[in-house]
Symmetry: C2
């Protein structure tokens, strides 16, 4: 975000994390900023059109030497709707300018490297919007819940992440971080639905039930992570996620605001338009 | 395609290349297989929905160990509509399961490697649909037109490509190749439109006019390439591309037929559904 931008950042301001985070104080079924589903879908559809245009500008900018890119990091408990949000928000944009990566449990090779190694490789090129479904933040969540590393190491990782993201931002990447904040009961409903439908069985993992038992530990880990890594240059947003239409809208609006703040114009021609027209007409 | 598939392959059969190719004999403004734009859009919208489901099945299949993937190669002259086709066809699918790569002029590093090196790196993972906007076929088109390599080397490259694609197919990748066949006059119109609109100037390159002067040489290079690399395992399709609605529909239908031919089912649960439901309800 540029400091003196005249663009609105209502959604980002509304959902942005400040200071110490208390997740229990944030209603997972809330819909701050919009009245109901109908209103949400009207806004969503309108923004889908303008967002596709902004993305094209970002892409065009890079072809004439611009270094700007956007990284959208999505985190959340199982079934929080990360995949569905990507699908809805990115769907209307040009796949040419989107880089999507879903981070799984680290492989042996990945574990043998510093934890940012595998993430670095997936960063969006200039002109691209990169979307991370899970991210380097798994490396401060899972180790904390399962007590795999010391609290000193955790603190070092937070600092390392903050510095690394700062360099990204200085290099021209807008870093947007969103936690999809799901309620425990709603997670149960969503997992049950996966068990009820044979076309959803592949999405279910017995491990999801194990993780559910660790729910309070995960919430704690999220709170500490949000508190320690929400920075001026790369703030976290907590988006209530019990209503899928709300989380899709909120993520879309945060992305749209960030793209608007880049104040991009169509790059001017680096050739003489009339001369090229004459050449072309002669062919 | 499985040999005894009961699925239709009408579009693939209709547009597939057989034997020696004469591009001048194929009307670039034709619309084989569909009456008009309205009919095309009705078919397109219906298939968009079923295609998204098929893509999800392909993705699900890979999570339970399936090795299948699909590679769609798009080639064509400048402004043939490769980017727009990707956008329309891939738009309704889940970005999570799509890998898109636009190949540019090779870099120094890429030129220092065998020509298939940079392509190999972008192949779709199991469960993914990979889309190539330009491809390894640039390496038999451009060198032929500009006489950068000998005809023996070209012949070797065709053979190398055929063998390499055969290995891909044996490894579980369905390889679909499409040439968007644009008319020379329509290219002129499209280039002029890019010059007429300041929001399209970034898409225009003076080099496009240079390439236009080499049109007959490029058409020859395409014909020889199509004739030499359309194989049983990885056939070429020539899609008339003067009408954007037609080329989008044809590419979509070819992709849809290929996915249908995989005969994918939702993978069965590899856990006891009732047991997991009981565990979940206890949480």
């Amino acid at each position: 975000m540029t400091k003196h931008s005249t663009h609105s950042a209502d959604w980002s301001d509304r959902l942005r994390v400040h200071g110490a985070v208390d997740l229990r104080a944030i209603d997972t079924s809330g819909t701050p900023g919009v009245l109901d589903k109908d209103a949400a879908e009207e806004i969503f559809d309108g923004t889908s059109r303008s967002l596709a245009k902004l993305q094209e500008k970002l892409f065009a900018d890079s072809l004439s030497g611009g270094k700007r890119s956007v990284l959208l990091v999505l985190q959340g408990m199982d079934t929080a709707g990360k995949g569905g949000t990507v699908k809805r928000v990115a769907g209307p944009m040009d796949p040419q300018g989107i880089t999507h990566h879903a981070f799984k449990k680290p492989t042996e090779e990945e574990l043998a490297h510093p934890f940012l190694w595998r993430v670095e490789k997936e960063l969006p090129a200039p002109g691209h919007i990169g979307i991370f479904d899970r991210s380097h933040y798994e490396d401060v969540l899972v180790p904390r819940v399962h007590e795999l590393i010391s609290s000193e190491e955790l603190t070092e990782r937070y600092a390392e992440i903050n510095e690394w993201e700062k360099r990204l931002v200085e290099g021209g990447t807008t870093v947007l971080k969103v936690m999809l904040h799901l309620g425990r009961d709603e997670q149960k409903n969503r997992l049950l639905r996966r068990l009820d439908r044979s076309d959803k069985h592949w999405k279910f993992n017995p491990g999801d039930v194990d993780d559910r038992a660790l729910w309070p530990l995960f919430q704690d880990a999220y709170e500490v992570m949000l508190t320690n890594t929400s920075t001026e240059h790369a703030p976290w947003h907590v988006v209530p996620a019990d209503k899928k239409w709300y989380s899709a809208l909120a993520v879309q609006q945060i992305l749209d605001e960030a793209l608007q703040a880049l104040d991009l114009d169509w790059p001017p021609a680096d050739y003489d338009v009339d001369e090229q027209r004459a050449r072309l007409l002669a062919t």
